[in-house]
Symmetry: C2
Subunit: 322 residues, 2 copies
């Protein structure tokens, strides 16, 4: 590339939008944190940020957005590029790509927040050196991103693996689940709001010895078992608020090992301590992943050389804006 | 390619091995059906076939095998290329690739029978024109092949999606399931042997109005729901002996629609009649898929030009040998 290219990224979350501009070496030149209020307010602030950043640093080569969903990601769909039906008030049927196309004439891509976080883990975290892995977040919702053959998996649309159904855990038949569509799908049973609905307190207030943790671990491990038998990943990375209060990774590993029951031999050979891992790319994994996806749109490859510089840079800059 | 290339394929099944040699245009020059007896006998007959075929038609450029499993498919595994632990007596820890490497010095690949059948469907059947789809077989076992982005999905090893666990169907709590590893995983509940163990007769002898069909349809649809939310395929193709006796595809579609419950909008927009389909590439889909995988090993692309010629050819030749 003769001219220096600049890349824009957005991590669009339910509470905040992180927007950033990075150069070819992953140095974050400009960054902002915008509270998620109304689409008008939040998206206008994001557009204004990129206009200012371009005035200061030069034109963007590409923009990539990692967003909460559900999203319409099939290029041929009439609502391609939009958030579709989200419980987040005011944000249903919001045309994210369309908004930014009004002011930016560059190649643009939209993917899920979890796929962008997975890319962040691929470059700087627990996904380094892996070909195929799952990135799971257990929080307000249950989301799953898939890196398959080193690339984010889309298919006909993005995965919604939080909505699979699993056998009910032993002694857990009474609670109906809170998913408005499926009742007792995984998200209806094991997400943060499901925990609060069932036990009356948020996950972070449940005592470490509370029986809830064993039940939640069984459900999360059930998801891991299905991901194992369907996707056959090299690793499953699990983050999110519900995984924080107690040593959930250890409980999930033990339950997963029981559920897989040694079948088949390649599964029996898995080291659970590395197979089920926590994220390690830091809080800015989603934004960094989005920036890396913008880079890849132009260069057709991941910016493996960003690894250390971008991580330190993003971490220090984020500290300033948050 | 200056020299004409010849491609070898094997569909390695529990009852028969189909071996074939095709030219660049998908014309099957030679073909044989070998009963699956002992590994020594069956594999020697297969090697002898390829030796004869090469004597007659010239050297092979590549050989591809689609086999029953479980298989070890990770190139770095010590038992790479082998059948691992199979219930089929005498066939555990059999080094398939190793056997053929003794007599053939050409690029070789091994994949699952279901991935090869999926490739057959991609070229000549219900997968034509699709980017991402699942090929499911409900029979002696429950197998799933995945074509993702137009290529067979492997991951750390091949999928074993027949072994996922699902909620038990209403009124179906008493039967423990027959999977020696998991008990009531999907294969333990809905495979041909599970049906025989529970209702005392093989699937083909169950009356069309038997309540078993509704239960089996719910489990197969449960698999489809998990595949939908995790893989987001364009289509799910379902074949196998258990799907034959009654109009199971119709029952699976109805149950799947109930289970997905309209979430999310891209799922709500699916036409179940095309989303859940029967295979249509014929009985030789597995062999043709293996031949196509050998072709792709050399040319890096699928032989889309084989479509009509190869299908007719394979069908007519198969009639002779079976």
């Amino acid at each position: 590339m003769a001219e220096p290219n600049l890349f824009g990224g957005i991590e669009a979350g339910g509470t905040k939008f992180l927007c950033g501009v990075a150069d070819e070496n992953g140095v974050v030149l400009d960054q902002i944190r915008i509270p998620t209020t109304t689409p008008d307010e939040t998206l206008s602030a994001a557009s204004a940020f990129f206009a200012r950043a371009q005035g200061r640093h030069g034109p963007l080569a590409a923009l990539s957005i990692g967003s909460f969903g559900p999203l319409s990601l099939r290029a041929t769909a009439p609502d391609y590029g939009s958030i579709t039906s989200t419980p987040k008030v005011g944000w249903s049927q919001i045309d994210l790509l369309g908004h930014f196309r009004q002011t930016l004439d560059v190649p643009m891509a939209l993917d899920t927040d979890v796929n962008c976080a997975a890319v962040g883990e691929l470059l700087f975290g627990s996904g380094r050196g892996l070909d195929t892995f799952c990135y799971v977040t257990i929080g307000t919702g249950i989301g799953v991103g898939l890196l398959i053959g080193g690339a984010p998996h889309g298919g006909a649309n993005h995965p919604e693996a939080g909505h699979i159904r699993l056998p009910r855990a032993v002694g857990d038949q009474a609670f109906d689940g809170i998913c408005p569509f499926h009742g007792d799908c995984l998200e209806g049973l094991a997400s943060g709001p499901a925990i609060r609905a069932r036990w009356g307190v948020p996950a972070e207030q449940l005592a470490p010895g509370h029986p809830a943790w064993g039940i939640i671990a069984d459900y999360v491990a059930g998801l891991c078992a299905s991901l194992t038998y369907i996707v056959r990943p090299d690793r499953i990375i699990i983050g999110g608020g519900v995984m924080q209060p107690v040593n959930m990774h250890e409980q999930v590993r033990a339950s997963l090992e029981r559920q897989l029951a040694g079948y088949d031999s390649s599964v029996a050979g898995l080291d659970m301590n590395t197979y089920v891992a926590a994220p390690s790319a830091g809080d800015s994994a989603g934004l960094t992943g989005a920036l890396a996806m913008a880079y890849r749109m132009i260069t057709r490859q991941w910016p493996m050389h960003w690894a250390i510089g971008a991580q330190q840079n993003a971490a220090s800059t984020l500290a300033k804006v948050s």
